[in-house]
């Protein structure tokens, strides 16, 4: 069940009215939201729900044990419990996501050494959103251990934390410290939240169904499928198009998730902040998929030592973090290369800062252009099925030929998708602030007209969100 579908619209209307009719019974409300989230998840495969429940029970139990040990033996060692919790989460993630990849690589390696073996290949279905809910589980266990968040008051809270349908499938990765306190009391809906939520849903719907889908179907997919058939113009357009598509696709999901949660009375953190305005790779990662980059910082980069042990150590740590961040996106060498590219550029930036200090070496405009093109280079690795296709894309950038795929409309969408990064940084909040005082009929007619416009121009059907596969 995808957000921009009629089925989800009906589902959400039912959830909205039922949840608010239970607003005086917070416990029952949470239970209802949990059941609704499981129903939502079961639309992909009901077996995934069992995995989700098992993962939640595991994290709840480990966190409860850690909290008990902290109470009974404040100075006692509990690192092994944290290690156990993290390891089991990683085991679940590793089995479902990386088993096939590692077995395949091991088989190839053994073949190279002449020890060919029939390794046990399993047809494992990748549960949707597994990377997101396992990372949430890990952050919950570690935060309880660090004392950053108290353990949840009930198992239902942990289950809802991990299963809450707006963020379940493609984030943002909402931490326990953000969401659990909100579960403690019956939520309140304000006009500001509701207006902001509705506008985010409309904006997300527009980005996904109009910009991302149009670019994907009519430009990006055909060119990336067979780059050798296209000229440099089309390949460059497809690369820029993919940069816009992935932003509009993923940020649209986050916007809609934040908007849906707001309509149910819950607040999620921002996940994107005009990433293509970044003038350095470090700045890019402060603006792109913020919930993942902050997760990687807090639970990987900092435990590795962060920047405490000097420049070289910090460079190594940031490189490892980015490579593993690349691997998080998928079990393929192209993702590893993508992570290595981002890590490598950040290492160069760090060395540059160490050499030149905070002095501005290049103008901001140049920094933005260079960063954007490095990011686009990374997107080629990210989108291409394999290295051969990625190389074919790069080689095609030197091929002179007619423009066959790029049309005025697609060019407008690409330019528009990039131009939206230069809107005022909190434009939606600003509009919501002005509209919240309007009568409900005025707002409804505005939102309705926007929905109608989107519905009129969107293609039939809707492709799954890119980040569902992660």
């Amino acid at each position: 069940m995808l957000f921009p579908t009629l089925a989800f619209g009906i589902f959400f209307l039912f959830v909205y009215f039922t949840a608010w009719s239970l607003d005086r019974e917070n416990g029952r409300r949470k239970l209802f939201l949990l059941l609704a989230s499981w129903f939502f998840f079961a639309q992909w495969d009901w077996r995934f729900v069992a995995l989700l429940i098992a993962s939640a029970v595991l994290n709840w139990a480990v966190a409860a044990l850690i909290a008990k040990r902290m109470r009974d033996h404040p100075d006692g060692r509990r690192a092994w419990l944290v290690g156990l919790g993290v390891a089991v989460n990683l085991l679940i993630l590793g089995f479902f996501k990386y088993y096939g990849f590692f077995i395949e690589q091991a088989g190839e390696l053994l073949t190279q050494f002449g020890w060919e073996r029939d390794l046990p290949l399993l047809q494992i279905v990748l549960p949707v959103g597994i990377s997101f809910f396992t990372f949430q589980g890990i952050s919950y266990v570690v935060d309880v251990h660090r004392g950053k968040t108290p353990p949840a008051k009930s198992l239902v809270d942990v289950m809802l934390l991990m299963s809450f349908f707006p963020h379940l499938v493609a984030g943002p990765i909402v931490r326990a410290s953000d969401l659990l306190p909100q579960f403690d009391r019956a939520p309140r809906l304000t006009r500001a939240m509701a207006t902001h939520g509705l506008l985010l849903i409309v904006w997300g719907l527009f980005k996904k169904t109009v910009i991302a889908t149009e670019l994907s179907v009519n430009l990006v997919d055909p060119v990336f499928f067979d780059p050798s058939a296209y000229s440099a113009f089309d390949i460059a357009a497809a690369t820029y198009g993919y940069a816009v598509q992935i932003y509009c696709d993923f940020s649209a999901y986050s916007d809609m998730a934040i908007g849906l949660a707001a309509l149910l009375g819950y607040s999620f953190p921002r996940n994107f902040d005009q990433p293509y305005r970044a003038s350095s790779m470090q700045s890019f990662w402060r603006r792109w998929h913020i919930s993942l980059s902050s997760w990687l910082r807090d639970y990987l980069y900092v435990p590795l030592g962060g920047g405490k042990k000097g420049l070289i150590s910090s460079c190594i740590n940031v490189f490892i973090t980015m490579v593993l961040g690349g691997l998080w996106h998928g079990a393929a060498w192209t993702f590893l290369a993508w992570g290595a590219l981002h890590g490598g550029v950040q290492v160069i930036e760090r060395l540059g800062r160490a050499a030149f200090g905070d002095r501005k070496v290049v103008p901001t405009v140049v920094g933005v252009l260079v960063t954007f093109h490095i990011v686009c280079l990374g997107w080629i690795l990210f989108r291409a099925e394999n290295f051969d296709l990625a190389m074919a894309m790069l080689q095609g950038l030197g091929r002179i030929g007619p423009v066959t795929m790029l049309t005025p409309l697609l060019l407008t969408l690409i330019v528009g998708g990039l131009a939206m990064h230069w809107l005022p940084p909190r434009a939606i909040e600003g509009v919501a602030e002005r509209l919240k005082a309007a009568p409900s009929i005025t707002l409804a007619l505005l939102i309705g007209a926007a929905f109608l416009l989107i519905e009129a121009v969107r293609p039939e059907g809707v492709a799954p969100f890119i980040y569902f596969q992660f």
Binding site: T5, L6, A7, L13, Y16, F17, W20, D23, R188, L189, T190, R191, A194, L198, E214, N218, L263, P402, V403, T404, L406, T407, P408, L409, S440, I441, L443, A444, L445, I447, G448, A449, F451, L452, L453, E455, A456, V457, E460, G461
Partner: protein, 165 residues
């Protein structure tokens, strides 16, 4: 910042180093008489709220018949905002059911055949046909045609859109 004076060897130019003297002498020294404040007419014993006011009789009746509601507490504000949001959502849904009636029909055509799909399709077809009589499908149709035209547009010299056989 200190209370010590700046050493004289530090040049302060081009900033002024002393206060400019006004070219005009103070008023008190000119001998010109200025008008004082007029004597106050404020009655110390009066209370402004006791002054008689005339209220429209209909307004008085309205105030008695429909007394203003007490100020809302937090829960009241939350309930009011929830009602406002729910009203907005219901109106948006109704708006879409009228102006975007074709959406359920398209959705039903994409589903696997079955009882639900068949029922939704039949009901939607009737609904769409009825609304088409009033022309409410025209805004959507007009926007869609404009969009399709924009999609088919090509750059000068670019090959035209391949037409379906």
């Amino acid at each position: 910042m200190t209370d010590e004076r700046d050493p004289p060897e530090i040049p302060l130019e081009p900033f002024p180093v002393y206060r400019q003297v006004s070219p005009f002498p103070p008023l008190s020294e000119t001998g010109v008489r200025t008008a004082g404040d007029p004597p106050s007419d404020w009655n110390q014993g009066a209370d402004a709220h006791d002054l008689p006011t005339r209220e429209n009789r209909l307004a008085t009746l309205g105030r008695i018949a429909f007394p203003p509601a007490p100020p809302l507490d937090d829960e009241g504000v939350a309930a009011r905002d929830l009602r406002w949001t729910s009203r907005t959502i219901v109106i948006v849904t109704a708006f879409m059911l009228v102006f975007n009636a074709v959406s359920p029909l398209n959705w039903s055509r994409q589903q696997a055949p079955g009882w639900v799909q068949g029922t939704v399709q039949q009901v939607s077809e009737v609904w769409v046909n009825q609304l088409a009589v009033f022309g409410v499908d025209m805004p959507r149709q007009g926007v869609r045609e404009a969009w399709m035209a924009a999609r088919d547009a090509r750059f000068v010299g670019q090959e035209p859109v391949p037409t379906a056989p």
